[in-house]
């Protein structure tokens, strides 16, 4: 017999992790490009960087709205404990995303005035702060929050620990890497060459981050450690670190041989593996260390009604999202400047 109350939260957990992964990948390179403004000062090349994402960033950010909405509708218990727990970093992230979101248009519309610099800085700083907050929140979820009677019962700065700061910095580094490799794919000339240089350094940074977080995470809670060391779990999880190293080798090769798509795909692979690894570690908790998926989920009738819509709509959404990327495919070059 199908037990909906048991299976629905699992199905939804998979969908939610998939939606978060899509978000991280898509908005990751957006935010990364914002951060790379710190390294690229040339106004023409900055415009090229922005133009590679201008037609698609709205859609990318929508995945984050979806994540919030799914959490709210399907796992209201998690939504209602995690959001108050991460109140400050979430507010900070939202404000940062406001700055960077409007900067797309505002930096063009204020061109030639002294305010243009404000919006370029806003684009850069907004991207960096949003990336840091996302990493810190992710780290904060993994390290767990204090919950009493199904409600958050900790302090406003509980999330701020060396572990969450490390996660925040790693995500900044990772997003910048996604941005740089995306630009390798989508641009040419001086910009592409600079991106290859930056990508190499950022990859080293991210690799160190991944290793540090991976070694630290199992020490946070005893069940996390068992997940990675007990038989037969170890047979399932062992490929993850191995694949990380394989991808690192492919990445170095792609970068050296001048592949245009290869480095980006490797960076995506890293993100995918990291998120899977975290998922494996935290499973089956939605709000570690106390609340499981089933503790926080909404009634099966809500989950089922939403699942029907998702099953129909998500494939349609993916289709036209891919179409939109297809319309704006190809290299964006520096000769595409003003006239």
């Amino acid at each position: 017999m199908m037990d909906f109350a048991y299976w629905l939260p699992i199905v939804w957990a998979v969908i939610l992790v998939a939606a978060i992964s899509v978000y991280v990948v898509l908005d990751g390179f957006d935010l990364g490009i914002g951060m790379l403004f710190a390294l690229e000062r040339h106004p023409g090349r900055r415009d090229v960087m922005v133009n590679t994402i201008a037609p698609v960033w709205d859609g990318n950010e929508t995945w984050m709205v979806l994540g919030g909405a799914v959490l709210y509708g399907v796992f209201p218990g998690a939504y209602a404990t995690l959001l108050p727990a991460f109140y400050l970093p979430i507010v900070l992230m939202l404000l940062a995303l406001i700055f960077r979101g409007v900067a797309f248009e505002f930096r063009i519309m204020t061109r030639g005035t002294n305010r243009e610099g404000v919006w370029n800085t806003g684009f850069m700083a907004g991207s960096a702060i949003a990336a840091f907050c996302q990493g810190a929140i992710l780290g904060g979820v993994v390290q767990g929050i204090r919950v009493v009677d199904g409600a958050f019962a900790g302090g406003p700065l509980d999330w701020l620990t060396p572990f969450s700061i490390l996660c925040g910095l790693s995500v900044m580094c990772g997003y910048a890497l996604l941005g740089a490799t995306w630009l390798i794919w989508r641009t040419t000339g001086v910009l592409e060459a600079s991106c290859r240089r930056w990508a190499a350094r950022l990859a080293v940074g991210l690799f160190i981050g991944i290793v540090a977080v991976s070694l630290w995470t199992p020490l946070l809670h005893a069940p996390y450690l068992r997940r990675w060391t007990d038989w037969p779990n170890i047979a399932f999880v062992a490929p993850v670190p191995v694949l990380v190293v394989v991808l690192a080798a492919l990445f170095v090769m792609g970068l050296r041989r001048g592949h245009s798509k290869g480095p980006f795909l490797c960076a995506l692979g890293w993100f995918f593996l990291c998120l899977s690894g975290l998922g494996i570690t935290v499973w089956p908790y939605a709000v570690p260390p106390g609340l499981t998926l089933w503790d926080v989920s909404s009634p099966p009738s809500s989950q089922f009604f939403q699942l029907i819509g998702t099953a129909i709509l998500l494939p349609i959404i993916l289709t036209y999202t891919i179409y939109s990327y297809h319309v704006f495919r190809g290299k964006v070059t520096e000769t595409d400047g003003y006239h």
């Binding site: 133009n51 201008a54 909405a69 959001l83 507010v91 063009i108 009634p299 709509l313 319309v327 000769t335």
Partner: protein, 477 residues
């Protein structure tokens, strides 16, 4: 339960009101403007007249800015339910969260997915496909409005639920009853018309400004300016009276399902038939009396029940702890109605001028139309204040109190975020408004610069986003 005057609760409410109040401007603007752009592009494709393309190019720049501000301010809203109202989300999430998810999946993705093509894709896809993209964006804004108003209306007139005795959660029982709850159709029509009307008055004021400017320079205003002014004034003349009828119907619906809200809106304390309408007054919640009242005999019953002896409710019918704060909504309601009547008068005046062929030459009317630029948006905000403050002291009407909905967030965090929101919103959205006003201060370019309509897409793209054009081919990058 927190006390109703708890500072953290008040801050949570004020912060939510502030962020949603700023946000609502942009989606309303997008709803109206996307529909206007779809009409303009459709007319261009159908008639081939370049003036419609000129106007499309002009207003799509505005749209790109407005839409962007809507996305980022809306992102805040989708998380603020949890940050500020975690107990509400926990209990009502199984219903309102699902409706929000449907909004994201049916509307937000549709809008965002085709926005890129709409803004930058005119030279990359065919004309038909581009028009389809514009229509998708416009339909997306309408679908989005439908879901969020369904969710909001459910909070006002909840149906189709049961309450889980163990957790106090709202459990969905009948999704059709939830979605099509009693106040939803009225709120949907009222809000949709409000969005169209708000944009009509912004477009009209822009046209009026450029006609006044041309007049001062001793020139005749250009064709696009006249066309946009004329279209906007048609909209005002047709939609403003419809809006007053829709508002009246919504009022009857509210009287049926939320009588306490009506009593507070009207400043009535004692239930009576042959009730007067208060033109002015200051409702006092403590003394249970409306001071300085100016009454119109019998009109209250007439408006609310459509008969002279109809019974209208008074606030004393309801316990003190179930009355909405009358001093706020008494005024917000009256300002909204006054603006609505003004908009209708402007619309009717425009019809009169049109008959006399002086629509484009009467400077007094143009000045009035210019002053009316914010009228639609102000009325819309006043309407939202009326319906939301009028729902108090409940989040889910009659079932879940606002004081039982708020998050366990420290007062210091709430105060910090409130300050940050105000500073950032004033800076960002203030700059955005400044950019919009400067943009509208420039008259629309006419097609004469490039008479070949086939080249128009490149010009459009160049103006919206200078760097996407490759000069060697004239094609986008």
């Amino acid at each position: 339960m927190q006390h109703i005057h708890d500072p953290a609760l008040l801050l949570a409410r004020f912060q939510f009101a502030f962020t949603v109040g700023v946000h609502i401007i942009f989606p309303a603007f997008s709803i109206g403007l996307a529909a206007y752009l779809a009409v303009l592009e459709g007319l261009w494709l159908r008639t081939g007249q370049p003036v419609f393309l000129d106007l499309y190019r002009y207003w799509i720049k505005v749209f790109s800015i407005v839409f962007g501000m809507g996305v980022v301010s809306g992102l805040v809203m989708s998380y603020e339910f949890g940050t500020n109202w975690s107990l509400f989300s926990q209990k009502a999430g199984p219903i309102t969260g699902v409706l929000l998810s449907y909004e994201v999946m049916t509307a937000f993705f549709l809008e965002a997915g085709f926005l890129g093509v709409m803004l930058f894709g005119m030279n990359r896809v065919g004309r038909g496909l581009h028009f389809a993209a514009t229509c998708c964006v416009s339909v997306g804004t309408l679908i989005s409005m439908t879901w969020i108003l369904s969710s909001n209306s459910w909070m006002q007139t909840p149906r189709g639920y049961s309450i889980d005795p163990a957790t106090g959660r709202f459990m969905p029982a009948d999704w059709l009853a939830i979605i099509f709850n009693p106040s939803f159709p009225f709120r949907l029509v009222h809000m949709g018309l409000a969005a169209f009307l708000s944009v009509a008055f912004v477009v009209g004021a822009t046209g009026a400004w450029h006609m006044l400017k041309a007049r001062r320079a001793g020139k005749i205003s250009s064709e696009p300016v006249r066309v946009m002014f004329s279209m906007a004034m048609w909209m005002a003349a047709v939609v403003a009276p419809m809006q007053i009828l829709a508002g009246d119907a919504h009022g009857l619906n509210t009287l049926k399902y939320q009588p306490a809200k009506i009593a507070a809106m009207e400043g009535d304390w004692v239930s009576e038939d042959h009730a007067p309408e208060l033109l002015f007054g200051i409702p006092n919640m403590k003394t249970e009396h409306t001071d300085y009242a100016v009454r119109l005999p019998l009109v209250g019953s007439l408006i609310l029940t459509h008969s002279l002896d109809g019974k209208v409710p008074g606030m004393k019918d309801f316990p003190r702890d179930q009355r909405p704060p009358s001093p706020v909504i008494f005024f917000s309601f009256r300002i909204m109605v006054a603006l609505g009547v003004l908009m209708m008068l402007v619309g009717l005046w425009s019809v009169w001028l049109r008959r006399n062929d002086t629509l484009f030459t009467n400077p007094v009317f143009h000045r009035v139309a210019l002053c009316m630029a914010p009228a639609g948006f102000l009325a819309l905000l006043c309407g939202w204040v009326t319906t939301e403050v009028g729902r108090q002291p409940w989040t889910v009407y009659g079932l879940l109190r606002t004081s039982d909905s708020v998050s366990p967030v420290a007062l210091s965090s709430m105060a910090f975020s409130m300050t940050a929101f105000v500073v950032v919103y004033v800076l960002v959205f203030g700059s955005g408004m400044g950019i919009l006003v400067r943009m509208l201060g420039h008259a629309p370019q006419e097609g004469e610069h490039d008479t070949d309509p086939a080249h128009a897409p490149e010009i459009l793209a160049a103006r919206v986003h200078p760097a996407v054009i490759d000069p060697s081919t004239g094609k986008g990058a």
